[in-house]
């Protein structure tokens, strides 16, 4: 009985992993449809909860959501099955593609195609960057952190990890300071 439930969790998340392009938030509607409407494992409020958690924990949103839903339905083994399910399609596909790419890279047409594709990818990245910028709070603290993180990592070549830790600490200190000032 329990095994059948686990299998269902695995298959559902396999489907979610196999049919969502672009990852991230693009996965939320399909996760909602499968886990709330089809299987009734969680409620609509849980979906909002998942998004909130995914935003404040590290890691890909798809993995966060799969682990969370899997845990809610079948405990730790549920989260193992859900996470395996959501990862497996891209793992298999990308493993296959990287071989195909190596075979075809010597073809002239493929090399030409990638010259064009790189310009297209740059456009996609710019759009993603713009969307993230718009979602950020518009105040001086956030602008200073943004500019600082850009200067340190892109211009001064500082490693990403210490900069992230530094920014987290800086955010924590300013948030505490602001809270105290509004209290006083």
């Amino acid at each position: 009985m329990k095994f059948r439930e686990l299998w269902k969790v695995f298959i559902t998340f396999f489907k979610i992993g196999a049919f969502t392009f672009g990852g991230g938030y693009a996965m939320i509607p399909l996760i909602q449809k499968e886990t709330v409407e089809t299987h009734h494992w969680i409620s609509d409020e849980d979906i909002l909860e998942i998004v909130a958690i995914a935003e404040s924990t590290p890691g890909p949103i798809a993995i966060n959501a799969a682990t969370f839903v899997g845990y809610r339905t079948c405990g730790v083994w549920g989260s193992v099955c859900a996470t395996l399910g959501v990862v497996l399609p891209s793992f298999i596909l990308i493993y296959a593609i990287s071989f195909v790419l190596r075979q075809f890279q010597s073809l002239k047409a493929v090399r030409y195609a990638f010259y064009g594709i790189r310009a297209g990818v740059l456009a996609l990245l710019c759009k993603a960057l713009w969307n993230m910028f718009k979602k950020n709070p518009k105040n001086w603290v956030s602008y200073i952190i943004m500019a600082g993180a850009f200067l340190l990592t892109a211009i001064l070549d500082v490693s990403v990890f210490p900069v992230l830790i530094g920014c987290a600490v800086f955010g924590l200190i300013t948030a505490k300071y602001m809270a105290r000032r509004t209290q006083a």
Binding site: G17, F19, F21, G22, G23, Y25, M27, I53, S56, T57, P58, G59, P60, A62, I63, N64, T67, F68, S79, V86, V87, S90, F91, L93, I94, Y95, Y112, A113, Y115, G116, I117, R118, A119, G120, V121, L122, A123, L124, L125, C126, K127, W130, N136, P137, I145, A149, F150, T153, A154, I155, V160, F161, V163, L164, A168, V169, G171, L172, T174, K176
Partner: protein, 191 residues
Amino acid sequence: MIYLELFCTFFMIGAFTFGGGYAMLPMIQSEVAARWGDKISEQAIVDFVAVSESTPGPFAVNMATYVGTEMGGLFGAFCSTMGVVLPSFIIILIVAKCYEKFRDSSVVKGCMTGLKPAVVGMIAGAVLNVAMTVFFPAGLSLGVLSGAAFYVSLGLFAVMLVLALKKVHPIVIVCLSALAGIIAGYLGIWS
């Protein structure tokens, strides 16, 4: 030992990716350049971002599997994918047990006010790197300004940006720019 290095590197990347997907691009760029730059070029990473955009699944898993395969075959792909998945898996298991406490924690909220804009700044840096490989593939020099390739790339980028902002699907954009790249190639633009 390459497998352990793959696992540890992607574990770090998984543990520091806030905001999903593209947030890991700056880390991938710098870690790959520092560790495996002789085998995987910056251009190869940009090419693979395009592949990730056109295949299903989370961006992070796609990138981890790709770098793992290039460096260590099937087992390499397994190690790097496990590495990138494990941090969020562990953290979510912990958070799922004490969600209310986590959500209302002022420490978590405070850290996020710093992390969110930091990620945006870092992605801006990563995008700048990609722009360099697109417009100056042979390194920064004014020489490219005399060739047609620079202007064709610039035009293509502008058109695709307009399409992207009009919410055209990424796969369509990748296919269209591939087609334009092939046509330009046979016209002798890229050589």
